[in-house]
Amino acid sequence: MPEPKITMREVEQVARLARLALSDAEKERMRRELDGILSYIDKLRALDTEGVPPTSHAVPMTNVMREDEPVPSLPQADMLANAPDRSGDFFRVPKIIEE
């Protein structure tokens, strides 16, 4: 058996970073599937990329400048209309700070 590309501990750590609650069954399946995908992706290592610059975007583009002129924004009521929970003009979230 080759060394697994990703361990259960790493799956749990990545799920925490990604803010994804996974069931035990999902974690096991995820580990297996990511292992297969990462093994496939490993073929990239075979390529010599010494001195090759990275490409982050297909079309070369640096900063896009425009005049700093105020334009109307979307109305606050419209932006709040989809909120799962709100309080007046605010999005409401569960408690963040311990008492």
């Binding site: 990545v14 982050s56 583009m61 419209d78």
Partner: protein, 486 residues
């Protein structure tokens, strides 16, 4: 039946007073009611709004002042494009009740052109998939064989055009999500150059790769659709300030003397022999029309897929961080604290493929793995781009198969990697940001459509469309319709 007609044929009927936009909209809505229970292309049908827009178009034709070639034409939109006041889900349960407060730029442009929007089309969740089986709602079926997939992620958009459930539709293409379903469903599907069409109001998957484009019944219609949506938009800083030519005007120029590259790396083991036969026959047709073919080499093709499955998920894991149960969409109640609420909401709201890609992307971007995966993939992206640059020093367009095989069966590809391999011929084009079209190029013995892919230089959609049009003009494939009953 008006639903048989292309956009340009329908427009001619409107102008000659042989038909009205309301008649066309009603025929399409009736056909959707009758046949969409089989095909399952639509997530939302906006009948009332469609008839209201059609009535406005009627009035414009009556006074002899139509807005242009799309006026009164019934269209559908992939459900990843924001529509003001109309539910937009991106195929995800996490956005089940989301009603956007604004229109995507492409939606606003179609509205200004007088188009009648019939509804929103099914897709793989957040455009992640190649079969539309990853929709959070239901799977769409291939109109040519209901036991098979329509491709994806824009499967609803492709199936709707193939089944005459819309005159044309919009989809999006991040790794092949327009061209692959177009090939599977026997329609024309065009992915424009990155930056050609504004992405404002497109729910993001991988922002450096995503591009909006049309599905159409023929190449001329695809040109008309592109004309309506192309051009710079101040709301998308990555949309390019490159002049937009008159696409329909250049269509008929033919391919006499055009240099057409044939990439050896696209005719490899794993390419279905029936697909290869059809594509080789298509190349012969182009030669017969005066095109000069020559072999070109795109040596990093086989690495494109691996690079894509780092870059796409990395960008997705960042883009999808916004689904946190705070501003819109699902929130799972009863959380202990904020982070628990985030995690449970995302755990419940995302489907398996989306979770897989968020995990993969988060892993590839995490400390200790960034250089080995994301950094490496970005360098390989450069190599894939250089392959195309080198080839396009010698040729005007490149032609190749769109997919390694025709449509597969629903449930056939359970292993995620085998599903990903289906995009091997479409992904390099996204990595390089180039335009590509899939046009119908025949059928397998089993009666499934095969697609011919034409790839062009950046912002040279005109050459891509002109090549596709010349080929289409010499064939009858695009005129064939699936048997769906009435």
């Amino acid at each position: 039946m008006l639903t048989d007609l292309t956009i340009h044929e329908l427009g001619a009927r409107f102008r000659q007073n042989d038909a009205t936009p309301t008649e066309a909209a009603r025929e399409y809505l009736d056909r959707i009611a009758a046949l969409d229970p089989k095909v399952k292309a639509y997530l939302t049908v906006t009948a009332e709004a469609a008839l209201a827009r059609a009535a406005e178009a009627d009035a414009r034709f009556k006074t002899g002042a139509p807005l242009g070639p799309l006026d009164g034409v019934p269209l559908g939109l992939k459900d990843v494009l924001c529509t003001r006041g109309v539910r937009t889900t991106a195929g995800s349960k996490i956005l089940e009740g989301f009603v956007p407060p604004y229109d995507a730029t492409v939606v606003a442009r179609l509205a200004r052109a007088g188009a009648v929007i019939l509804g929103k089309l099914n897709m793989d969740e957040f455009a992640m998939g190649s079969s539309t089986e990853n929709s959070g709602y239901f799977a769409t079926r291939n109109p040519w064989d209901l036991s098979r997939v329509p491709g994806g992620s824009s499967g609803g958009s492709a199936a709707a055009v193939a089944a005459d459930l819309a005159a044309a539709t919009l989809g999006t293409d991040t790794g092949g999500s327009i061209r692959q379903p177009a090939a599977f469903c026997g329609t024309v599907g065009l992915k424009p150059t990155y930056g050609r069409v504004s992405r404002y109001g497109l729910i993001a998957f991988a922002s450096s790769l995503d591009q909006i484009g049309p599905f159409a019944k023929d190449v001329e219609d695809a040109a008309l659709m592109l004309q309506a949506i192309a051009g710079h938009d101040p709301m998308d800083s990555t949309s390019a300030a490159v002049p937009v030519p008159d696409y329909a005007a250049g269509l008929g120029q033919g391919v006499e003397g055009l240099k057409v590259g044939i990439p050896a790396e696209y005719f490899i083991e794993g390419l279905d022999p029936e697909v290869e036969t059809a594509v080789r026959a298509a190349i012969e047709i182009l030669k017969g029309l005066g095109a000069k073919t020559e072999s070109v080499s795109l040596p990093h093709t086989e690495y494109g897929l691996a690079a894509y499955y780092v870059i796409g998920p990395a960008e997705a894991s960042s883009n999808l961080a916004r689904y946190d149960g705070v501003k819109y969409g699902l929130r799972v109640p009863g959380a202990r604290d904020l982070i628990d609420m985030y995690s449970r909401t995302r755990g419940a709201g995302f489907g398996a493929e989306v979770k897989r890609r968020v995990m993969l992307g988060t892993y590839a971007l995490s400390a200790g793995y960034y250089d080995a995966y994301y950094g490496k993939a970005q360098k390989v992206r450069t190599l894939v781009q250089r392959d195309f640059q080198k080839a396009f020093e010698r040729v005007d367009v490149i032609v190749a198969p769109t997919t390694p095989s025709a449509a597969f069966r629903t449930g056939e590809k359970e292993d995620p990697l085998s599903m990903y391999l289906n995009d091997v011929f479409t992904i390099p084009v996204n990595l390089a940001g180039l335009p590509g079209v899939s046009v119908p190029a025949g059928f397998t013995k089993g009666g499934l459509p095969v697609g011919l892919q034409v790839i062009g230089k950046a912002f040279d959609e005109a050459a891509v469309l002109r090549t596709a049009k010349a080929y289409e003009g010499a064939t009858e494939w695009h005129k064939k319709k699936p048997e769906l009953g009435a």
